[in-house]
């Protein structure tokens, strides 16, 4: 079997409708659908007329033996055909455009607020315990953290959210990027100083 090629074997032995799941279907106009302003033609995959009338298409080589490979192939193709049928004719939601997730907004707001809060807290802890006392970069860190927290609070209000949708997510991304960048700079730079230390001290 493998000498002649599996695909070749399948092509010669499987019924036509299993070789091609669309063999018994044709894509044609099935009616009209009303869209605002005009009527549009509606197209769909439907069974061919001859199949509908009982004249099933060629079922392949009648002398072919149904070995285990053929049966497995038939099963797989049958399942694919079922999946295809479901995909084409199955139920769909009426609205398929972009969706706004309230949970995403709330979680993004919470993430950016927590980032800001953590930034403020570690800065004041560093300022309190550092041997060099309070430095300019601590003030900058606290200001950035409070700004992030305040911005995410404002972005959660109905007025701001109505004017700039998705601002919560944007602030969360900016906060996360700054946090990761600051940590990366501190770890990988030669003097192990944070961004604000380099800028303000």
């Amino acid at each position: 079997m493998f000498d002649r090629g599996l695909l070749n074997y399948w092509n010669r032995n499987l019924p036509a409708n299993l070789r091609d799941p669309f063999a018994n279907y044709e894509y044609k106009r099935v009616g009209q659908v009303g869209v605002p302003g005009f009527l549009a033609d509606k197209f769909d995959w439907v069974l061919k007329d001859e199949v509908n009338n009982g004249n099933v298409l060629s079922s392949g080589n009648p002398s072919a033996k149904s070995g285990p490979w053929v049966m497995t192939g038939q099963g797989m193709l049958g399942f694919s055909q079922f999946a295809l049928e479901t995909a084409i004719h199955g139920p769909r939601p009426m609205y398929t455009g972009p969706k706004e997730s309230v949970a995403t907004k709330i979680n993004a707001g919470r993430l950016s607020t927590r980032l800001g809060l953590a930034g403020v807290a570690i800065s004041i802890a560093d300022g309190a315990f550092n041997k060099n006392s309070w430095q300019n970069h601590h003030t900058a860190d606290v200001a950035i953290g409070l700004g992030l927290t305040g911005a995410s609070l404002l972005a959660s209000t109905a007025t701001v959210a109505a004017f700039i949708p998705g601002l919560n997510v944007a602030i969360a991304v900016v906060g996360l990027t700054y946090f990761a960048l600051d940590l990366g700079v501190q770890i990988f730079s030669e003097d192990h100083k944070s961004i604000n230390q380099k800028l303000f001290d």
Binding site: K105, I106, R110, T113, R114, G127, A128, H192
Partner: protein, 123 residues
């Protein structure tokens, strides 16, 4: 308790601004204030005891050393105020505490300890 008042103020302010997560932001505000007050207490303790803290626990090599402690404290305080939220909101439900005078008072409660702490450290 002063923190309950701060929570209620921030909650009512958020409700007025039509925030979609008023309880969370009120809790966050109170956590920030608690951190500021803790900073003030540490600074006062440090100024009274000299270099006792530095000799005991040393000086941090990076500010991110504090991150695990901060995250744990945030988690505990968030849970605490989530549990207390209902009681606080009910207590202040009947009257509106969002006013200019209360706002100024809260500004002092929040930022004065931080400013005084920074001034002591910079002295």
């Amino acid at each position: 308790m002063i923190y309950d008042f701060l929570y209620a103020f921030c909650y009512q302010l958020n409700e007025k601004l039509k925030s979609n997560d008023s309880k969370f932001y009120a809790g966050t505000f109170v956590i920030i204030v608690i951190f500021f007050h803790a900073f003030f207490v540490i600074v006062i303790f440090k100024s009274l005891t000299g270099d006792y803290i530095e000799k005991t626990i040393g000086s941090p090599s990076s500010k991110y050393v504090f991150l695990p402690f901060v995250l744990i404290a945030m988690w505990i305080l968030e849970r605490l105020f989530k549990r207390r939220a209902g009681r606080i909101i009910t207590r202040y439900e009947s009257r509106s505490i969002v006013s200019m005078i209360n706002g100024l008072l809260i500004f002092c409660i929040v930022f004065l300890p931080l400013l005084i702490g920074v001034m002591i450290l910079k002295k």
